[in-house]
């Protein structure tokens, strides 16, 4: 039974054979029944013919035993008996030797019955009628031997044929099930070989439309996603190590240099300050990275409240106003109406703050930044931030929300960024069930858009 549980092939074959067995048995049973009925009907027709002939003969030469003996001779010893007025008129020789006994009751046209005499079955037809004023009862019988032997032969054929057929079907089914399932075995074998080292391997797809092909396609899809997330993870790890290494190198070399010779207290002070600055940068980086790892679990434990996105955005704009002022930029915040939405305030602020910070950084001196909060056509809440930066080239647009991704690798570190601003903004929008995307970008600047779906506004 263990094999039964572990082998799909055996299970398939078993159920298939069981179904076939039931079907074949039912089929044989029906055939047997039909054959029996048809043979009996034929027998009955012959009996009816005999009764008819007997009746004719009595009518022609009204009922003398000699006449009936002549009839017996003509018909090749039929089994029959004739009664007249309730007493026996004639019994054929074969009736007598068969030892048949006529039944007591007979109607004008009674259905033939089966009777048994001396270990033999007979089919017996009877008829009661009046001829020339006398009451006659006619009986005719035929042995069932032939019918029975035909049926027995048929049954024997079924008894032997059925098991043989089933065994053949089981063996054949097993072979076919094995063939049909072989690709699954091959897939399992291949899948076992796939590890993080060779994620580029794919399962072969022979037929894209059958079940196995679809399974292989689905599996390959999983591998695609796995490979790309693995790729992202690798890239992220490499980027993160690079980002961490830079301040670490600075800390190390500043410390080593100042210790190389006896320096005055000012030099030590300078070195330590520089080390502290770098370590502050490091802790910021680590904190930001930790924040980005928060996901589903933390989403559930967040306490949301109903906030007016307009008020929230305006307060952020006024906070960041000084940065724009420093660059002689105009920062305009347009709010058309009250836009209430259910968000977790501190994380959602992060999304808006990072976008505005990003816009101020990328807009040149004297430029303008436009922030808008409004209600979309299908009830969603929208916050857009338009800058006058250089725009983001097509090839970078997919990746600007990736951690540490920089369009211009040289500039952002100098500007004090960690390269995580947009990644944090997107994370913050998404953890509040919103979306952040780059809606437009060209030489005149970019437009970032946060969308909070309607369902959350209640």
């Amino acid at each position: 039974m263990n094999l039964f549980r572990t082998s799909l092939r055996i299970r398939l074959t078993f159920w298939y054979s069981l179904a076939l067995g039931i079907l074949l048995s039912a089929f044989s049973f029906c055939i047997h029944l039909l054959a029996e009925r048809s043979l009996l009907r034929q027998l009955d027709r012959e009996l009816a013919g005999r009764i008819f002939a007997l009746e004719k003969s009595i009518q022609d030469k009204p009922g003398e035993p000699e006449e009936l003996a002549e009839f017996e001779d003509e018909m090749f010893s039929p089994v029959f008996q004739v009664e007249r007025n309730d007493s026996l008129l004639y019994q054929s020789g074969s009736w007598r030797s068969a030892g048949l006994v006529a039944p007591g009751k007979t109607g004008p046209g009674l259905a033939p019955v089966e009777v048994r005499a001396k270990d033999h079955d007979y089919r017996l037809a009877s008829k009661a009628l009046e001829i020339h004023g006398s009451r006659y009862r006619l009986f005719a019988a035929m042995p069932m031997d032939q019918v029975e032997s035909v049926l027995a032969g048929l049954a024997l054929a079924f008894k032997i044929g059925l098991p043989v057929g089933l065994i053949l079907a089981f063996l054949g089914g097993n072979v076919f099930a094995g063939k049909a399932l072989a690709p699954i075995g091959r897939m399992a074998g291949l899948a076992e070989k796939i590890s993080s080292e060779n994620l580029e391997l794919r399962l072969p797809v022979f037929n894209r439309t059958d079940e196995i092909g679809r399974l292989a396609l689905a599996f390959n899809g999983v591998l695609d996603r796995l490979e790309s997330s693995f790729e992202r993870l690798k890239r992220f790890t490499a980027d993160a190590s690079h980002e961490l290494r830079t301040p670490l190198t600075a800390i190390r070399s500043v410390g080593e240099v100042v210790l190389r010779s006896d320096s005055d207290i000012g030099a030590y002070r300078e070195a330590i300050s520089s080390i502290l600055e770098e370590s502050a940068r490091l802790s910021r980086l680590v904190q930001d990275l930790l924040l980005l790892t928060k996901g589903e679990h933390d989403r559930k434990s967040m306490t949301r409240s109903l906030l007016d996105l307009g008020d929230l955005t305006k307060s952020i704009c006024s906070t960041f106003g000084v940065l724009a002022e420093e660059k002689e930029q105009t920062l305009v915040c347009e709010v058309a109406e009250r836009i209430p939405a259910s968000v977790e305030e501190s994380t959602f602020r992060l999304a808006v703050m990072n976008l505005i910070d990003n816009a101020i950084k990328h807009t040149p001196m004297g430029g303008a930044i436009q922030v808008k909060v409004w209600r979309g056509a299908s009830g969603e809440s929208l916050i857009t931030v338009r800058d006058q930066g250089a725009g983001i080239p097509q090839e970078h647009r997919q990746r600007i929300f990736d951690r540490f991704y920089r369009v211009d690798p040289g500039r952002s570190r100098a500007a004090g960024g960690t390269g995580l601003g947009l990644a944090i903004a997107r994370w913050a929008a998404e953890i509040n069930d919103g979306r952040l995307e780059l809606a437009e970008s060209g030489p005149g600047g970019s437009l970032f858009r946060i969308t909070i779906p309607h369902a959350l506004i209640s």
Partner: protein, 229 residues
């Protein structure tokens, strides 16, 4: 009489650094490197405040905390930990911690929290803050230096007030972000904003006058003090 502070922290380097820093501030600092040792010291000598690491070998900080509170000790406890998630904070505060500081922390922030915990319940809110010839009147919302009125924006006023409340002590950017800008999330891109306000405040409060009161401690934060460094 100097306040006694017990540091229960298993990392020797951190423990030593905190001890030295606290001693420089005039506190008496005691150290325990394990939960058991800490628990023993708490019972053998009185202290005014406990700095408690959450992840300790042997007994966890939360266990010690719970045991202390159960025994009826009301000593203020400041939890230190690298676990930064909300649940850890909640479980620490639930167990009876008075405050919570995530690692890595800025030392000025630790000092500020310690000062806050030690004076808890004491000291009324001052309405007139003063350093040197600079005076900030909270009731009239006025700032005067050397008899001259100084016009400040709301944020600049709040910033100056915060610096004055911590006069003589360094305040970090994190402290300013949380306490003045009310941004509890540390991942906010607010450092540049703080710097801009600091520059403007300095221009109004310090530039026309001598001596300079606002000091930048590079890599650490800002401080207001009438003493020359």
């Amino acid at each position: 009489m100097p306040k006694r502070i017990l540091i229960i922290e298993d990392d020797v380097k951190i423990s030593k650094a905190i001890k030295r820093g606290l001693e420089q501030e005039g506190y008496v600092a005691l150290t325990a490197l394990s939960g058991e040792d800490g628990f023993f010291q708490i019972h053998s000598q009185p202290c005014d405040l406990i700095l408690l690491d959450v992840l300790l070998p042997g007994r966890s900080g939360i266990e010690i905390l719970a045991a202390l509170r159960k025994a009826g000790r009301r000593t203020p406890i400041l939890m230190l930990t690298a676990l930064d998630s909300l649940e850890d904070k909640v479980s620490g505060l639930d167990a009876g911690a008075d405050d919570y500081l995530g690692k890595p922390f800025a030392f000025p922030e630790l000092l500020a929290r310690i000062r806050a915990l030690l004076r808890r319940g004491g000291q009324e809110e001052l309405l007139l803050l003063r350093t040197g010839d600079l005076e900030l009147d909270l009731a009239k919302r006025k700032v005067v230096r050397s008899g001259r009125n100084i016009e400040l924006t709301t944020k600049e006023f709040e910033l100056l007030e915060y610096l004055l409340r911590n006069k003589g002590h360094v305040v970090s950017r994190e402290m300013l972000a949380v306490d003045v800008w009310k941004e509890p999330n540390r991942a906010t891109p607010i450092d540049n904003i703080i710097d801009v306000h600091m520059t403007r405040l300095r221009r109004k409060v310090d530039e026309p006058f001598e001596p300079k009161l606002l000091k930048t401690v590079r890599g650490v934060g800002f401080m207001i003090s009438a003493d020359s460094p």
